[in-house]
């Protein structure tokens, strides 16, 4: 019951090259806009034709270029929640949900619509028009409309991006609950890392029409394969270095202890240091010996309301990046306040081995 995608399509700005198996559960296509995420969904739904390759589920092909199969959208049974939800503005909520129900008696349709409405918790809005609904309500109508046709695959294109902040957080949990129980392959497109991380069973990172890395959200975020994935998943500190032993890497003037490396001494490597794993050493209490201790000064800081980002300039002779700050550190606001970082700017810093990841070039 997995959706198989293996196709290519040449487009004006980039070419799409997808090789992905989507098992039951939520697979998130994550990437910036213009990466080809929505185009991938359009190919699955049959709204766009790939140049060559295969799209199929359960041994049934939606598209097979060699066998000249290209089922029209009507024959695919794909549930699709498009961006902006695209409810029919001239039809009521109930009529919207019933739109895809064919070959059924009136009472059967009413029954199904009734069940779908109570599933998404909108039974009281059956006779409303879409213009009178909130964004969150529209999203659930679109979801109900997609689900009543018993789809084999569910496609969700930015299902939360049209919503405001608090609604979005609430509906994220709702969406997860509604979709998780379906046991069908779900492809969800988003450019939000938070959304991807919270909703994904599996995450597929996309850029320029290609899949860069596929794995659990933890794998992708904490063990990015290359710099592009590391940047997309919010990593900030990137350095090139040289392996000096099985557990040390030289970065400029700084020698860093690392977890055991598979690389021979002398190898040039690119590495990232997770900004949320770097520690400030408290001055008021004794501490156990720490890894990779350096001294540095906070040059700039800013907060998003929850976390502070600190820019650190290391003390000579350990400047890595003489023209700018050397390190970025992210820590929660309450720690920032408790340590008094607003006034106390000079700190000893530890870079734990686990915070250091070697990337593929």
């Amino acid at each position: 019951m997995s959706l198989l995608l293996k196709f290519q399509k040449v487009l004006r700005d980039y070419s799409l090259d997808i090789d992905l198996v989507v098992p039951p559960g939520i697979t998130v296509l994550f990437g910036k806009s213009g990466a080809g995420k929505s185009m991938t969904l359009a190919c699955v739904a049959g709204l766009t034709r790939p140049d060559k390759g295969v799209i199929g589920i359960n041994g049934r092909f939606y598209f097979h270029s060699q066998q000249k199969i290209n089922l029209p959208p009507q024959k695919r049974k794909v549930g699709f929640v498009m961006q902006d939800y695209l409810l029919f503005p001239h039809l009521t909520v109930a009529e919207n949900i019933a739109f895809g129900l064919t070959n059924l008696s009136r009472t059967q349709k009413e029954q199904i619509v009734h069940e779908a409405l109570s599933l998404v918790g909108l039974s009281n809005l059956a006779s409303q028009y879409p213009a009178g609904l909130s964004g969150g309500q529209q999203q659930r109508v679109a979801l109900a409309r997609a689900l009543v046709m018993n789809p084999q695959v569910l496609l969700l294109d930015e299902p939360l991006s049209a919503l405001d902040g608090p609604t979005r957080a609430r509906l994220r949990a709702d969406l997860r609950r509604l979709v998780a129980g379906l046991s069908l392959p779900v492809l969800l497109v988003t450019h939000s890392l938070t959304e991807a991380y919270l909703l994904a069973d599996r995450m597929a990172v996309m850029a320029n029409g290609r899949l860069l890395q596929i794995g659990t959200p933890e794998e992708v975020v904490y063990h990015p394969l290359n710099r592009q994935v590391a940047e997309l998943t919010g990593n900030r500190n990137f350095f090139s270095g040289q392996v000096t032993s099985t557990t040390t890497v030289q970065v400029g003037p700084l020698s860093l202890e690392t977890n055991p490396l598979d690389l021979p001494a002398g190898s040039q490597v690119l590495l990232t240091i997770r900004a949320d794993r770097i520690q400030l050493i408290r001055k008021d209490v004794p501490h156990k010996p720490k890894e990779n201790l350096v001294n540095g000064r906070i040059t700039t800081d800013y907060t998003d309301g929850f976390n502070y980002t600190l820019h650190i300039q290391l003390d000579p002779p350990y400047r890595i990046n003489p023209n700018n700050h050397d390190l970025e550190i992210i820590l929660p606001n309450y720690i920032y306040e408790r340590l008094g970082l607003a006034h106390d700017r000079h700190w000893q810093i530890s870079i734990p081995r686990d915070a250091i990841h070697i990337l593929q070039e």
Binding site: A45, G46, L47, P72, P73, Q74, K75, R76, K77, V78, F80, M82, L86, F88, P89, H90, F99, G100, T102, Y129, A131, R145, M149
Partner: protein
């Protein structure tokens, strides 16, 4: 002043109604084609669609006369089946239909173009045929524009003078519509009767204007 002859009013309303039905049947497919498809010769069709708007009505009427008169195969065939157009009220209907066709085609076209095509895609993903989607999604969403186009076409057909005169003539009791009648009354210095006719025509036009505005309003109400 004597008894007012109301025949021209009924004739005008009949001619305008038939003309509006004709432009409805021809204008919607043309608008649909222009709004939705790219094909060779699209610009030519587009130009033809607007031509009746820019041609002087008498010139338009002259072309129709040549095309529909008994000098032409089409005219002779219409004669044979007993539906001659020249010097009949049907001819007046066809002439005013041609004159008002651009209004219908262009208004409906912008109606079709204003519809988010992803709604039609959505319909296909939901398993519905293109024909069903046309009737259930596209046409209802374009409907306010189509009705506005009908009101404009009706008004244009009601007021046609030149093209109608060329094709159907000005035969009292047979092809003399309101516009022609008013002209005749003024020529004959029958100011009083002319005033009544003018007032009636003005009232009809104002009502049509309100109808058109009401439906344009509907469009905005629904789609916002």
């Amino acid at each position: 002043m004597g008894e007012i002859d109301w025949f021209p009013l009924w004739l005008s309303l009949r001619v305008a109604t038939v003309a509006t039905l004709l432009v409805l049947l021809t204008g919607i497919p043309a608008a649909w084609l222009l709004a939705r498809y790219e094909f060779p010769g699209k610009e030519i069709l587009n130009g033809l669609t607007s031509l009746p708007l820019v041609l002087p009505p008498t010139v338009l009427g002259y072309y129709l006369l040549v095309l529909l008169g008994n000098q032409s195969p089409l005219g002779r065939w219409l004669d044979d089946i007993g539906w001659p157009l020249v010097f009949t009220w049907r001819g007046a209907a066809v002439a005013s239909a041609v004159a008002s066709f651009p209004l219908m085609a262009q208004t409906a076209r912008s109606g079709f173009e204003g519809i988010d095509r992803r709604l039609e895609d959505m319909g296909r993903v939901l398993g519905r045929s293109n024909l069903y989607i046309f009737w259930r999604v596209t046409l209802p969403l374009a409907w306010p524009s189509i009705v506005a186009g009908m009101a404009l076409s009706f008004a244009r057909a009601l007021g046609d003078f030149g093209a109608t005169l060329m094709v159907a003539g000005n035969i009292p009791g047979r092809t003399q519509t309101m516009s022609l009648r008013i002209f005749d009354l003024i020529q004959a210095n029958r100011q009083g009767e002319a005033n009544v006719m003018v007032l009636v025509m003005t009232a009809v036009a104002v009502v049509l204007l309100f109808v058109a505005q009401y439906f344009t309003h509907q469009l905005h109400r629904h789609l916002k």
